[in-house]
Structures are given as C-alpha cells and as structure tokens.
C-alpha cells in the first residue's frame, strides 16, 4: 500500500461515487489551500501594500544627503522620544485600564453601573483635542496658572509649574485618553471568565486581591497585552498632539521631512525605521499569548460574584474610577464648551456642517469594510491555523502602528504608480475618496481584528465541528454560528474603527481630495492658526459623534455577558 501512489489503487469502479464529493475537506485543519486562505492572502496583501512600499523604500534611490543629514542631527531624538512616549503611555493606560476594569467587573459599589460606561467616554476624545484643550488651560497665561499666581501672590517667574507642552505632558494625556482600549478588552475578559475560577481561587485560600493577581489577571493577559499594544501603537502614531507640543517623534519628523524638506523617499525611509519598532511590539504581543488557549475548562456560566464594597471603600472605588473619566473627558470637554461660547457657538458650528457629513460618511464606510475584512482574516486564522495565516494577520495589522502620515506616503507612492500605469494622468486613483478609505482601512484594521479575533478565541472549537456535522459548509458555519456569536465583538470592532476615523488627522490631511475637508482637518487648521476657540464648537461635534457609539456600546456591554 505504501509503495503505491495515493489514490492509484482506490479509484472506485463508479467514478460518480466520489469525483464530486471526495476532495480535500474544506475549512479543516489541513494545508489551507482553500478559497478562504486565498481570499485572506489577497486582502492582507492589499492592506499591507502601502506599508510594503515603505519597507522597500530603503532600496529606492538613496535619500542621499537628506538621510545623512537626518541621521546626524535629529534621528536620535526621534527614537528616544517615541520609545519613551510609547512605554509611558502603555504603562499608564495599562494601569488605569486594568484596575478600573477589575473594579467594575467584580465589585459592587455605589454608582458602579454608571461608571461602567462613563469609563468609555475618553474613547470619543482625540489626543490632539485634549492637547489643545489642556494647553489652553494650563499654559502660562491660562486660567490655572493665573489663578495660582493670584492666590500665592508669586510673580511671573517665581511659580514653578510643570510644562504641559512636554514629553511628560504627552505621556500623561495619552494615558488618560487611551486607557479605554485596555479597559474594554480587560473588562470583557474578566466578564468572560467563569465565576468558578474565582470561587475556586477563593476556596484555595486566596484573598480577593490575591485572586486578582494569581487568577484573573493571568487569564486576562491576552486582553491586557492586546490593549497595551494598541495604546503603544496609538501613541507612536499620534501626530496632532506631539506636533502641537513640539515633542519631536518619528511622526513629526516624517511629516517635516515630507513637507518641510520635500523628500518623500527619505520620509518613507524614516518610516521604515519606525516599522521595526512596530514589528517588535506585535511579536511581543503574540509571544505573551504563547501556546495557551484561554477559554475556561468549565461551561458553567453564572453571574460574577459582585463583591460588595460599602462605606468609604465604596466611595473610594467610585472616586478612583471617576478620576480618569474626569481628567480624560470631563475637564477637556468643559474647556471646549467654555471656549466655544467665548467664540460664539452657533456661528462656528454652522461653518462645520458640511465637514461633519464628510466625516460621518468616511467613518461608516471604513468601519463596515474593516469589520468585514477582520471577520475574513480571523476566520481564516481559526480554520487554516498555522504560521502562514498568522503571518497574514500580522501583515494586515501592521498599519495600526504606522502613523497616518506614513501610510499616506505609502499610498501616495503606490497609487501614484498605479495612476502612471493606467495612463499617466495624476489623481486618477490617488487623491480620491477611494485612496482615503484605503488609508483608513490600512490604518485601523488592527482595531477590528483584535476585537474580532478575541471574540473568535472565546468560541469553543467544538461549535465549529458541531456546525460542520450538522450539514453546514465552512461558510455556513461562519454565517450561522460565528457571526451571530460575534455580533458583540463585531459591533465593538466597528465602533472602534468608526471613532478612530472621525478623529484621524494626518492621513486625511495629506490624502483628502481637493476641497473635501473633514472636521478633524478643519480643527487642526484652526488650532494651528492660534484660533483654538473657534475650533472648539466643531471639536465638540467630533466628541459628540464619538459619543453615540460609546453609548451604544455601553448598552450592549450591559446586556448580559458580552457574547451570550
């Protein structure tokens, strides 16, 4: 038998018996040469193509003297600032996110049901808006310092006040605004953990706090690592805030090299360096998951313990959870509201209506596309599990850590090339809405992918097999089992992408078609012109638009146990 080629001796007398049905089983853990894998590969390649252009950029004609100049002068500063920013914001947001998630998931204290969703509010705040607002608030002639001077009676040079427009200021602000990524993922993870494991840990003699460290936190580690990775990548990608704070990072460097020095290739090469850091982060995140699977061994689902916190402990927990909401959302919104009335609320709002429409349209299209793509990639990851599929996902995820301006560079280089191939006319593909949505997809696919992937990991593998043995094709199982079970995850994914697109600044700034401004671009222009107050009303619009999905998400978050 072993000496015969496979199939040679078993061809049935009646070929109709099997010629149609008997083929490589699809959607199983075999070498994935299925339609799914091909589709996933095509999509990943498409999404990664602008970044691949950047990766290949060192092979282009050397940036020559520009590159040499950069390396000798500012490159070191870019690296140091970027790394410190990502580390600092990741740590800060991680601490805030995981602690608030733990408190709201397992404790009962006064106001907890409000805090649940209040903690999501900073999701609606773009980092650059917070930077504009706090700067206005805390600078030398802002209300805080003026008030301090009048209270203490100290003169202008005598009162020391931490400078907001600094690296430290950026780290603090980023932590306060970005922690909801960690909070959302960790909270979902805590809620998914069976109460049994917590009870088991308590009966094994662990206190609540020790249970957290020894059981809940290790089980939530993929969520925590995923959240922190998101925060770090987001920090590395920020342009608006660091530009305003004059903290020289990779992003501002790239922007300056592209526009200031007019050296696109050198800008792309600078971006290639940043990519290295991103890949490192991705690898770390994947390694932290290791080979473990994180669904529990018990199928029992009960409500979480709801350990009561009474008296001052309850008040303390409430205050602790409200603090990030206040600093990351309440205070900046207050500043914006105050400023918007100073500048005349309605007139500046009327100016913004067209831009709002533009923003909403782009955000919706990008969110839908991103979720569809995420589902495809995550499903491929599940069915054709293996290094190839993981590689694809990793490739498609790269965009999130790449600053918008770099993706813009990549897309403009790429689509410019396509334009030339199509017939030479510039602006055929580049400089269209297609290019802009493409950029958003590249940039924000990771958000959707993380959410969908995490949801997918929570679905017992047996359900796939049950679906297959109940006469469903692989595609049928996706539609009838995974998609309904992933509704919550998909909505979360869509929400995250939607909000991010609304806030996105640098890529929009560079790629948008002529005369197609969005809210974010408008605000940036006003703030750069030192007309912060005028931008406050449109800024509040961004925040308001971002709030709608936050409220929606919070409703869903309450509706039982996530994916149930």
């Amino acid at each position: 038998m072993a000496t015969l080629p496979a199939g040679a001796e078993t061809e049935p007398a009646d070929p109709s018996l099997w010629s149609e049905d008997l083929r490589e089983p699809r959607g199983l853990r075999r070498k994935g040469r299925s339609w799914l894998f091909v589709a996933a590969a095509a999509v990943s390649l498409f999404v990664a193509s602008p970044i691949l252009v950047i990766v290949a950029s060192p092979l282009f004609e050397a940036g020559g003297s520009t590159w040499q100049h950069l390396r000798e002068t500012v490159l070191g500063t870019y690296v140091t600032n970027s790394v410190l920013l990502a580390l600092g914001a990741g740590t800060g947001a991680g601490l805030l996110g995981v602690s608030t998630a733990w408190f709201t998931a397992v404790y009962r204290f006064p106001g907890r049901s409000w805090v649940d969703w209040l903690l999501l509010l900073p999701l609606a705040m773009p980092t650059y808006l917070v930077a504009y607002a706090y700067t206005d608030f805390l600078v030398f002639d802002g209300p805080v310092q003026t008030w301090l001077r009048s209270v203490t009676g100290l003169g202008a040079g005598e009162l020391w006040f931490p400078p907001i427009r600094s690296l430290g200021g950026a780290i603090v602000l980023f932590s306060l605004v970005l922690y909801p990524y960690v909070y959302l993922l960790c909270r979902a993870s805590f809620l998914e953990q069976s109460v049994c494991v917590l009870d088991a840990s308590r009966t094994l003699g662990m206190s609540r706090t020790r249970s957290f460290w020894r059981v809940a936190l290790p089980m939530a580690r993929p969520a925590l690592a995923g959240g922190i990775a998101l925060v770090a990548m987001e920090s590395l990608a920020d342009f608006g805030a660091v530009d305003y704070f004059a903290v020289d990072t990779f992003t501002t460097g790239i922007y300056r090299t592209w526009f200031g020095l007019g050296a696109p290739v050198a800008a792309a090469q600078l971006a290639a360096g940043l990519l290295g850091v991103v890949v490192l982060l991705l690898v770390l995140e994947r390694l932290s998951r290791g080979k473990r699977r994180f669904h529990g061994t018990t199928t029992k689902r009960q409500d979480l313990p709801g350990w009561p916190l009474r008296g001052w402990r309850g008040i303390g927990a409430l205050a602790f959870c409200l603090l990030p909401v206040l600093l990351g959302f309440g205070v900046p919104v207050g500043i914006l509201v105050e400023a918007s009335f100073t500048a005349g609320f309605l007139p500046s709002l009327e100016d913004s209506l067209a831009w709002t429409g533009h923003s909403l349209l782009l955000a919706t299209v990008a969110a839908v596309l991103a979720v569809a793509t995420s589902l495809l990639l995550a499903y491929n990851n599940r069915l054709c599990a293996g290094p190839a599929s993981r590689g694809l996902t990793g490739m498609a995820s790269l965009g999130y850590a790449v600053p918008g301006s770099v993706i813009a560079v990549g897309i403009l280089l790429l689509l410019g090339g396509v334009d030339r191939l199509l017939g030479g006319a510039t602006g055929l593909v580049s400089g269209t809405l297609f290019a802009l949505v493409f950029a958003y997809l590249v940039r924000f696919l990771t958000l959707g992918l993380h959410a969908v992937d995490a949801g997918m990991a929570r679905i017992q593998p047996n359900l796939d097999q049950a679906g297959r043995t109940l006469r469903s094709s692989a595609l049928g199982v996706l539609g009838r089992v995974h998609f309904p079970l992933l509704r919550a995850s998909s909505l979360a994914a869509a929400l995250l992408v939607f909000v991010e697109v609304l806030k996105e600044l640098p890529a929009t700034l560079m790629i948008r078609p002529f005369n197609f401004d969005t809210l974010a671009v408008r605000i940036y222009q006003l703030a750069s012109d030192e007309r912060f107050a005028e931008s406050a009303a449109p800024a509040l619009l961004i925040v308001a638009a971002g709030l709608v999905p936050v409220v929606f998400l919070s409703r869903m978050m309450r509706g039982g146990r996530g994916e149930q």
Binding site: M1, A2, A6, G7, T10, P12, L17, W18, D21, L22, R23, E24, P25, R26, G27, L28, R30, T299, R301, Q460, N462, L463, Q465, A466, G467, R468, T469, L470, R471, S472, S473, A474, G476, R480, V481, P484, L485, E563, Q564
Partner: protein, 363 residues
C-alpha cells in the same frame, strides 16, 4: 437487512498527527442499527477514530465507507457536512445564541420548513423536552442539555451517529438513566451508532458490540460478556472492573496459586509454566456455592472490614496461610452479595468462581 451494506466501514485506516501515530491499521464494520462502543484509556485513538468517521480528520492510509459509499481514502475525504452523520459532543456544543428549537432546526436546513419544525418537535417530544423548546441552552440542566444535543443529532436521521463521551459531563446518579434513555431512543430510530467512551460500565450498558483500543490499535472485539468472561490479555481483564493479580504457575493443566490449586478449565488455553493470575473482585464469594454447580475451590480468609457499596458488599480480607509456619497471605478485596454477612475479625471460608479468574502466561 442482509443485503444492506454496513452503515460504516473502516478498512485498514491509519492516521497520524504530525509524526505521532494515532490510529494504526484499523478495520471494522458497523451494521445498520448497531451500537458500537469504542472503549479505551485516553490517548488510545478512539476519539481520532470518531473524527475520521465524521470527516473532521482525513486518514493517511486506508479507506472509510458509509452505506457502501466511499467517503474517505488516503489524504482525501468528503467534507463533514456532506456525510450522512450526526455527532454528539462531550460538552454538547449547543449554540449559545440559539434556543432549543433553533438548535435542533440548525441541521435541518435542507428540509422544507414545515417538515423541519414538525421533525424538530417530534424529536423534542421523544427526549421529553417539548416544553423547553423556547429556552436557551444556558438555562437548562446538564441532563437536559445532553438530551437537546442528542435530539439535535437524531433529528438528522443520520446513517451513522457519532457520540464522543456524551455522558461524561453528567452527574453520576443521572448517568444510568440517561444512558438507558439514549439507548431506547437510538433503538427506536434504528440509528447505527459509534460511541466513544473510557468507561467500561457505559460500554457494557449501551453497546451491542465493543471495540477495546490501546495505542491506536484494537485489542479485543466482542459483545460485552466477552470482555467480562473471556479477556484476551491482562489489559482487557483489568479494564473491566477492579481486579487483583497474584503469581502462580500452570502444570499439567492445573493452576497453582497461594489460594489453592484447580484445573485451568476447558476453553482456556494457557502455556505451561509461570503465569500471572488476574482475579475479578467478584470472583470471591463468602456463600457456599450450590452443590450441583461447577466446583468452586476455597480458602480461609480473615475479614478486615466490610461495607456496602453500590448494591454490593465490599469486603477486605487477608488470606490465611494453610501451614502454621507460613507467612501471612496477601490482602485482597471481594465484591460479593450484599446479603451475605461477614463479621470483621473472624476467619471464614471464601470460595473462588473460576469463571472470573484469568491466568496469563508471563512474558
């Protein structure tokens, strides 16, 4: 019946996970309506066999037929959804987003809608859950979930039903009745079934025929009684209930042990020389056997303790040596009639039922 092909045939099927062989050259037939148990310790390949039958795995060698149609051969196989099978999973794998009725209808999408729901209600009534049709899986008890999983599979009218340790998540006191119930439903439906289990009680309660597996191969095949009375090797003998092993020897057709000597018995062929002798706990009796029955050798036992367990009496005793100068005999345990009193501390006669004693040549 005679003319219909086997519901399922494995022919020289082998499979490996990476480089680890999991199933090696297995062949068997499953008759229509038959219930076959794949029994064995964990890692023996029984679950892989089930996955091969379902199409979730593909064999590396050999072929698999269902109702006479080839569904898999080396490296290729019909997809699970194209096979006339149904599967019941260990954790039931009920879809948490669907209610009971929707779970059952899930697999019936190729039937026209009115018939679909009629069939679903029919099987729900069969498993006694007609009233629970609108409830969601997480609101059901374990026993109810198990029955929904069974109903969902039965509803398909599969040619072959595949069950993967379907009772292991149930409370022990529920298991017996749920197994009875399951056997009744499978027989009513006339469904050919392959059931995987590591529990010999489960196998003997449900199976028409048992395949005992070890390390990817079949050790013994037969009806339940074959395994209890005619084990082919020590592994099989020990797999069905508690046993004790003593050294002994066979000389001239007579078995010699510390408990005495008696003829090996007809139908048992054992090589002359040293043997290991396996006694079922049920082999030891403290009630005098009927005088006209087969001869039961006896010895003296000092009772250490005795307690009722599971409708039997479990008695620990020490074998009293025949000669005064000999050392104390081994401590053994008997599982015998509940109504036979054995006062602890006393020395009483103990009879051995040779049907439950199995000598195996050493080496």
């Amino acid at each position: 019946m005679i003319d219909s092909p086997p519901a399922l045939s494995f022919r020289e099927v082998s499979h490996r996970y990476g480089k680890t062989p999991s199933v090696a050259g297995i062949s068997f037939d499953l008759a229509p309506g038959e219930i076959l148990c794949l029994l064995g310790p964990s890692g023996c390949g029984k679950t892989t066999l089930l996955r091969l039958a379902s199409g979730l795995e593909v064999p590396d060698r050999g072929e698999i037929l269902m109702n006479g149609r080839k569904v898999a051969q080396a490296g290729r196989g019909v997809a699970p959804d194209k096979r006339p099978i149904a599967m019941v999973f260990q954790d039931y794998a009920l879809f948490p987003h669907l209610n009971v009725l929707q779970n059952i209808v899930f697999g019936l999408s190729r039937i026209e809608p009115t018939e679909r729901y009629r069939r679903a209600r029919e099987v729900l009534a069969q498993v006694g859950l007609a009233a629970e049709k609108d409830r969601f899986p997480h609101t059901l008890s374990g026993g109810q979930q198990q029955r929904v999983a069974l109903a969902r599979a039965v509803a398909l009218r599969p040619a072959v039903m595949l069950m993967d340790e379907p009772f292991s998540n149930l409370d022990a006191n529920l298991r017996f009745s749920v197994r009875e119930e399951t056997r009744r439903i499978l027989q009513e439906e006339g469904t050919a079934t392959v059931l995987v289990t590591h529990d010999s009680d489960e196998a003997t309660q449900l199976a028409d025929r048992i395949l005992l597996m070890e390390r990817g191969g079949v050790v013994q095949e037969g009806i339940p009684d074959d395994f209890l009375f005619r084990p082919v090797n020590p592994f099989t003998a020990r797999f069905f209930g508690e046993t004790h092993t003593l050294r002994g020897s066979v000389e001239g057709g007579v078995l010699h042990t510390v408990l005495g000597s008696w003829p090996v018995g007809e139908g048992r062929e054992v090589r002359e020389g040293p043997v290991e002798v396996i006694f079922r706990e049920q082999a030891f009796q403290f009630r005098e056997p009927l005088p006209d029955g087969p001869r039961h050798p006896s010895f003296q036992a000092r009772v250490l303790d005795s307690r009722p367990i599971g409708g039997r009496r479990m008695t620990r005793f020490r074998v009293v040596p025949t000669g005064k100068s000999e050392p104390d005999g081994p401590i053994l345990r008997a599982s015998h009639r509940l109504t036979t009193p054995v006062p602890p501390g006393e020395t009483v006669p103990c009879w051995i039922d040779p049907q439950l004693v199995f000598p195996f040549a050493k080496g």
